[in-house]
């Protein structure tokens, strides 16, 4: 059962453009995490959001947790080639993190 749906699945943009990645679920999560994974590496945590409506900023990345704690978004401003990677959201539930299918981002110089 895929509890978290991410969109888009693939995204290819030019350097300097803005983008938003979405993570949606019908389930409520007590917290939600965003990870970035580069080829041949494990995912690396970017941020954890806990409170409904919470907004967190990490340099050019802005993360938002939906009011109902069922969805989240990641917005990147002025994307750079170094932002290229697989972005994964993960919701905490029970004894595990439920991961989304991921958004593969390519930023073209």
């Amino acid at each position: 059962t895929q509890l978290l749906e991410q969109s888009p699945q693939f995204l290819s943009i030019q350097e300097g453009e803005n983008l938003t990645v979405y993570c949606n679920s019908s389930s409520v999560f007590s917290s939600l995490q965003w990870y970035r994974q580069e080829p041949g590496e494990g995912p690396v945590l970017l941020v954890t959001v806990v409170t409904g409506g919470e907004v967190k900023k990490l340099k050019r990345l802005t993360f938002q947790f939906g009011d109902a704690r069922k969805d989240s978004s990641l917005h990147i401003t002025a994307a750079q080639p170094g932002d290229t990677g697989l972005y994964l959201c993960a919701g905490e539930g029970g004894n595990q993190f439920y991961f989304g299918t991921g958004t593969s981002l390519t930023v073209i110089p």
Binding site: S31, Q96, Y98, F99, T101
Partner: protein, 114 residues
């Protein structure tokens, strides 16, 4: 160690053979997780350890899969009689406590069954 270490980094095995994958978590981390990532897919939960016990084995895909953790540290994931559909990257993560704390991932073991 400084991070989660997994070995081997790559493993090619013949169909029907058994394989053992190893995870060395960050020292002092009590929670340990195994996930599987297939090409183009998200992470599929396999098993969770709290200390040496595994309160949640719900993600193990079949009885050919087993895992153990000894001394609250190193964990091994064993796949018996490997099948081609077992080919994937197997990721291990550890966290200081169970959930609510950051999970640190290893670089994974890429398993190819030929």
């Amino acid at each position: 160690g400084a991070g989660v270490s997994q070995s081997p980094s790559n493993k090619v095995t013949e169909k029907g053979k058994d394989v053992e994958l190893r995870c060395d978590p960050i020292s002092g981390h009590t929670a340990l997780y195994w996930y599987r990532q297939s090409l183009g897919q998200g992470l599929e939960f396999l098993i969770y350890f709290q200390g040496n016990s595994a309160p949640d084995k719900s993600g193990l895909p079949s009885d050919r899969f087993s895992a153990e953790r000894t001394g609250g540290s190193v964990s091994t994931l064993t796949i018996q009689r490997t099948q081609q559909e077992d080919s994937a990257v197997y990721l291990c993560a550890s966290s200081l406590l169970a959930l609510n704390t950051e999970a640190f991932f290893g670089q994974g073991t890429r398993l190819t069954v030929v």
